[in-house]
């Protein structure tokens, strides 16, 4: 596991270095070392916070996806299927329709609230007595997603044309304008989230054997499920609030890691975080360099890059 972390970590560092040096304006390392003010402003004010924010969003989405898959014992679970992202998007769409989106900082807050409300709703719908059934959780998420799609469509129909462009860009996922404070917020959440999940890792990994089995091994299954769900949802909510909807990372990355290393939750946790960060940083590079005149949606590239890689691994595995 240590070797895998080192290998993936080096790949991540390399992609960050590349991501920082490419962009619409070429910034040479020499200019930065020479103390060129413009070059330094681009590097420290724009590129670095953007690249770090991207890496953190990727890490968070992958860790959240891994956690949901583990909790629900279902390889299809991810923040999108469970309605967490949908809730955030619906919140943002309503804010756009109401015209609040023009006030800076409102969309992230409402999106975050939407994500948490969606989580609470999915959990409440799936709960029967003191037990939360994984299949009902997935179904509730699926149904709520349909509801959120309807809310988004209606909200967009009611929005002013001028507000829609920003809203659509957010819906497609973007790291444009990411700041150091975004990166700091996400870093804190990722750190707290990963540490909290690590303290439960020995319990979480036993869920792979089923809830009854885990209970017989001394795991407080309902407590672990609730805690894991809250941690993953808060992290996802914050990531979506900062970057909009970026798909596939939460679903793909844990599976990619599993296909290569086939280990349990304890090893998958750090590996998924690094893998998710890498996928997003590489996708960010692609979204900025393929067409230099415009920024393409990063969410499209996480899928464009991730899917072929995933399919080739899937074909090679038994």
């Amino acid at each position: 596991m240590t070797r895998a972390v080192v290998v993936l970590g080096l790949v991540l560092l390399f992609s960050i270095a590349v991501a920082v040096s490419v962009g619409a304006t070429s910034v040479s390392w020499r200019a930065i070392l020479d103390g060129d003010a413009t070059a330094r402003a681009i590097l420290f004010g724009i590129r670095l916070p953007r690249v770090f924010t991207g890496a953190l969003v990727g890490a968070i989405l992958a860790v959240a996806g891994l956690t949901f898959q583990t909790l629900l014992r279902n390889p299809l679970a991810d923040p999108f299927i469970l309605g967490v992202s949908g809730g955030a998007a619906a919140g943002a769409a309503v804010a756009t329709a109401a015209g609040w989106a023009r006030v800076a900082g409102v969309v992230p807050v409402i999106a975050f609230a939407g994500a948490l409300l969606a989580t609470a709703a999915v959990f409440a719908l799936a709960r029967r007595g003191s037990h939360t059934d994984p299949t009902r959780l997935l179904l509730s998420g699926l149904v709520l997603n349909a509801f959120f799609s309807a809310v988004i469509l209606i909200a967009f129909a009611l929005s002013r044309q001028s507000d829609l462009t920003a809203a659509l860009r957010w819906m497609m996922g973007t790291l444009f304008g990411a700041s150091w404070s975004d990166a700091a917020l996400l870093f804190t959440l990722l750190l707290v989230g990963v540490i909290a999940l690590a303290t439960m890792a020995n319990d979480l990994r036993l869920l792979v054997f089923g809830e009854d089995d885990a209970k017989s091994r001394g795991v407080d299954v309902e407590r672990v499920k609730l805690a894991g769900f809250v941690i993953a949802s808060v992290m996802t909510g914050a990531a979506v609030a900062v970057s909009g909807i970026i798909g596939f990372v939460g679903l793909l990355v844990p599976h990619l890691i599993r296909l290569v290393w086939r280990r349990d939750f304890r090893a998958l946790l750090p590996l998924s975080a690094i893998g998710g960060a890498t996928l997003l940083v590489v996708s960010d590079i692609a979204s900025r360099v393929i067409v230099t005149s415009a920024e393409l949606p990063i969410g499209a590239f996480t899928a464009l890059l991730g899917v072929p890689f995933f399919l080739s691994l899937l074909r090679r595995s038994r």
Partner: protein, 254 residues
């Protein structure tokens, strides 16, 4: 060692167990028999602390399971669910070593010693050759052997097995029935196992508890159970008893 008093349990509206009381001592091989849906699995779940009774109590070593710390109880017991499986592909050795989980510290990984326990357990279950294989490449019976090894890897004092003999081939049914006896004799553990095969349940057990409709219909020695009129009354099973080397075997009447 473990005692149930007046236990009751329901799945929603369906009553699965009612007024169940029994006392199981140390170093015993106890078989649970009874038709499908009679409450065998539910009783095992109560004993394994997977479910708690809505009325009544279960006590282990004189202390209610409600008062036992979950991890400490897990260190003393092992439970094999009816259809053990994993949500994601895993190698047998990783499955077996996870039986050591209750002994790990919060951030701990399994030590070489834990792997040694796992290898010994695999050996006992005649499954050493499966160690590096993935579960999804195994037959149902091979998987069962791996999961039984997982239970044994924790060296539990109380072993609860839900139909450990189902899905095993004839040779392994025979071998496993003996293995359960050996575990009891060698480790002084108590094994409670559910089984539909009366012959193998009776062959090595000290005691057979017959469940019916959520209650205990009979609690007797194998010799007492293996009588034509008794199995007719309890199971509606029409059979003759033959004795081979002193052991009673049921042969169906045709």
């Amino acid at each position: 060692m473990i005692a149930v008093s007046g236990a009751r349990f329901a799945y929603g509206d369906r009553l699965a167990l009612h007024d169940v009381s029994l006392d199981i001592g140390e170093t015993a091989l106890v078989a649970l028999a009874g038709p499908n849906g009679s409450g065998k699995s539910t009783l095992l779940k109560l004993l394994a602390r997977v479910a708690s009774p809505s009325a009544g109590d279960v006590q282990f070593l004189g202390r209610s399971l409600r008062e036992w710390n979950a991890k400490q109880y897990a260190q003393q017991t092992g439970y094999l669910p009816q259809e053990p499986d994993t949500a994601f592909p895993m190698r047998a050795i990783e499955v077996v070593v996870s039986g050591r989980a209750p002994f790990l510290t919060r951030f701990g990984f399994e030590t070489d010693e834990d792997y040694e326990h796992a290898r010994v357990a695999l050996e006992m279950c005649d499954a050493s050759h499966l160690a590096e294989r993935y579960l999804d490449e195994m037959s149902g019976g091979e998987r069962k052997r791996v999961f039984l090894a997982r239970v044994l890897a924790g060296e539990p004092k109380l072993i609860l097995l839900d139909e450990p003999l189902a899905a095993l081939d004839v040779a392994h049914t025979q071998q496993f029935s003996k293995l359960l006896r050996n575990i009891v004799d060698r480790t002084r553990a108590t094994v409670v196992f559910a089984s539909h095969d009366l012959n193998w349940a009776a062959a090595y057990s000290d005691r057979i508890i017959v469940m019916d409709n959520g209650g205990i219909a009979a609690d007797m020695s194998p010799d007492e159970l293996m009588q034509p009129e008794v199995v007719q009354r309890l199971f509606g099973f029409s059979a003759e008893t033959v004795r081979v080397n002193g052991k009673p075997w049921l042969v169906p009447r045709t």
